[in-house]
């Protein structure tokens, strides 16, 4: 648990883990099959009346 160890960890695994997570988020957001779901979600806020 030295300083160098943490520097190594953050420069290698830290970097890859963030790139990896970013990749997942982008893939999820841009996945063509999700498009319809997102379009519906974006419009969903216009049908929430006070009385259900």
């Amino acid at each position: 648990m030295t300083h160098d160890f943490f520097v190594m960890l953050s420069k290698s695994w830290g970097l890859f883990y963030l790139i990896f997570l970013f990749g997942i988020a982008v893939a999820y957001a841009l996945w063509p099959a999700n498009k319809e779901k997102f379009d519906r979600a974006a419009k969903s806020i216009f049908h929430d009346q006070d009385e259900k």
């Binding site: 970013f22 779901k37 997102f38 974006a42 969903s44 006070d50």
Partner: protein
């Protein structure tokens, strides 16, 4: 406003009132300091008041039995009203601090009103009182509407709001009494921190439970931001406040961390408080109320998801930019700086997304001050994040740190972004909740808008000028290598700007008062619209 609890919830409410009374008694009995006794008495009084408030309706039949199909709006109404009350108090104290900095005699020779005490009273009242209550209220509104289901129960959200406001009261009165653990934005001492932990965990469960009951498969993006706000604030609060009290009868405690670790923990907390309290939660607000008021879906739903993950992952690493040129290892500072710069991308993605949503609705922005509040918020969000990324660059920070430039940055975010989006949300939600066609006076919304905008612009420009002058005066050397200006000369140079800032703050406070009056008149006017929902500009959307 009635709570309309079920019989079991009534018992729970009475029970928790007794718990508060009991805690108060124990604190008073075991107390070893006057401040601790006062806070014990506050617990006690709060419990007694809650008891009478709940006992009043104990035997009344329940008007509307619990059903998933009936939205529970009482905590939203309560939260909005509390938020406005804290806003007035917090802006007033803020402006007092501003005048005090221009005229140091304004403490009136009392200890409680000294700068070191009223300053945290200002920050706590505006961030936690005004911002926190508005976040809780709108989160309860947004989550019910977008999930098309009621909150999981009725007492839970009320308990959360009341407990939270007791925390805010303990915090602010504590400062006046000299109680503080001296961590910025986390000043309250251990017993108040324990209360907040209980309340916050409750908030987390209520929110998740509502999501679990949703009737809409996809969780609308605004809720994600609210979840991030709730989860991260819980984490930050618990870790940063780990401390050991000197005794269970005393206010004082010592942090579990020391030295540079303590500093890093504090600014990991402090920066993420900005990120998740003052940003993520309010982005949740923006992603619901702005498209709703504009009558247009968010420009890019996909972009809102990507910026969500960008913000959640990167903010966590940026805190060390508050500790440039300190004992903190150089690489940690560089790490914070790097993440702060990259952070501009998701921040601008959100600001851009909001403004692009308005593209095509500019006529509404022109005519409707409510929507204009939200538009200005998006612009200031873009400005303050750009400024933040810039200030995080180490050499820039060597100029800006310790100067009013930081204060200018803070208030371009706090007034321009946080307060503007909140007022936009308040004006959207008040007519809807109290079933009025529109606000009592759209003209007064307009007046508020211009007062707030003028106040913000004056404040921010005054601080930019003063901050940069300060920074430059402190680093101007003569031919002999000595400082050209003494500190007191830089102080004198600040004086006009401090007056300007205080005037700007006064305009902002007046705007807040106009808002409070308008909300009060809206609620007390008798014109009720039945079974329809209204959009903020008063156009009926039609019955369900």
């Amino acid at each position: 406003m009635t709570f309309d609890f079920s019989p079991a919830e009534r018992d729970a409410a009475i029970g928790t009132s007794f718990v508060a009374i009991l805690i108060g008694v124990v604190m008073m009995v075991s107390s070893q300091s006057a401040a601790f006794t006062t806070h014990g008495a506050m617990f006690f009084a709060f419990g007694v008041l809650a008891f009478f408030g709940f006992a009043k309706d104990y035997n009344k039949p329940q008007a509307q039995p619990y059903s998933r199909d009936v939205y529970y709006d009482t905590p939203i109404k309560l939260g909005i009203l509390l938020s406005i009350a804290w806003a007035i108090f917090g802006f007033f104290i803020g402006d007092w601090v501003a005048w005090l900095l221009a005229y140091p005699d304004l403490t009136f020779d009392a200890a409680w009103s000294s700068f070191g005490r009223i300053r945290p009273a200002h920050t706590t009242a505006v961030i936690f009182g005004f911002g926190g209550n508005a976040l809780m209220a709108t989160s309860f509104h947004v989550v019910q509407r977008t999930c098309r289901t009621s909150l999981p129960g009725r007492y839970g959200p009320i308990f959360i709001l009341l407990g939270y406001n007791l925390f805010c009261l303990l915090a602010v009165t504590g400062y006046f009494l000299g109680v503080t653990q001296s961590k910025e934005y986390a000043e309250p001492e251990w017993y108040a921190d324990i209360l907040l932990t209980v309340v916050w965990v409750g908030y987390f469960f209520v929110f998740l439970n509502t999501l679990a009951r949703r009737e809409e498969k996809h969780i609308y993006v605004a809720n994600w931001y609210y979840i991030a706000f709730i989860v991260v604030v819980a984490l930050l609060h618990i870790v940063n406040n780990l401390a050991v009290p000197v005794s269970f009868g005393d206010t004082k405690s010592y942090s579990a961390f020391s030295g540079v670790q303590d500093a890093m923990t504090q600014w990991w907390y402090g920066h993420n408080a900005v990120a998740f309290f003052l940003t993520a939660g309010f982005l949740g607000m923006m992603y619901y109320y702005l498209p709703k008021a504009a009558g247009r879906p968010i420009f890019s739903y996909r972009m809102s998801i990507i910026s969500f993950w960008g913000i959640t992952f990167m903010y966590m690493w940026a805190g060390s930019h508050h500790l440039h040129y300190t004992a903190l290892p150089h690489w940690v500072q560089t790490l914070g700086m790097t993440f702060s710069i990259v952070l501009l991308v998701p921040s601008w993605a959100s600001a851009g997304n909001a403004l692009l949503t308005l593209n095509g609705a500019w006529d509404k922005v022109r005519d409707n001050a409510t929507l204009r509040f939200m538009m200005v918020a998006a612009v200031f969000y873009g400005l303050s994040t750009f400024e933040g990324s810039f200030l995080a660059i180490r050499p820039v920070n060597s100029l800006s740190h310790y100067t009013d430039w930081t204060i200018g940055h803070v208030h371009s975010g706090a007034l321009g972004w946080v307060a503007f989006i909140t007022f936009g949300a308040i004006y959207s939600v008040v007519p809807q909740l109290w079933k009025r066609e529109r606000m009592y006076s759209p003209a007064l919304v307009e007046v508020h808008f211009w007062l707030a905008l003028a106040g913000t612009v004056i404040y921010v420009f005054a601080m930019w000028n003063s901050g940069i002058i300060q920074g430059l005066m402190w680093r101007t050397y003569s031919e002999n290598g000595t400082l050209t200006y003494s500190f007191i000369e830089s102080l004198e140079a600040m004086h006009p700007y401090y007056i300007a800032r205080a005037v700007g703050g006064l305009l902002f406070l007046m705007g807040g008062l106009v808002c409070a009056y308008n909300v009060w008149k809206t609620i007390s006017s008798s014109k009720i619209v039945g079974r329809v929902s209204t959009s903020p500009d008063g156009v009926l959307e039609g019955a369900a």
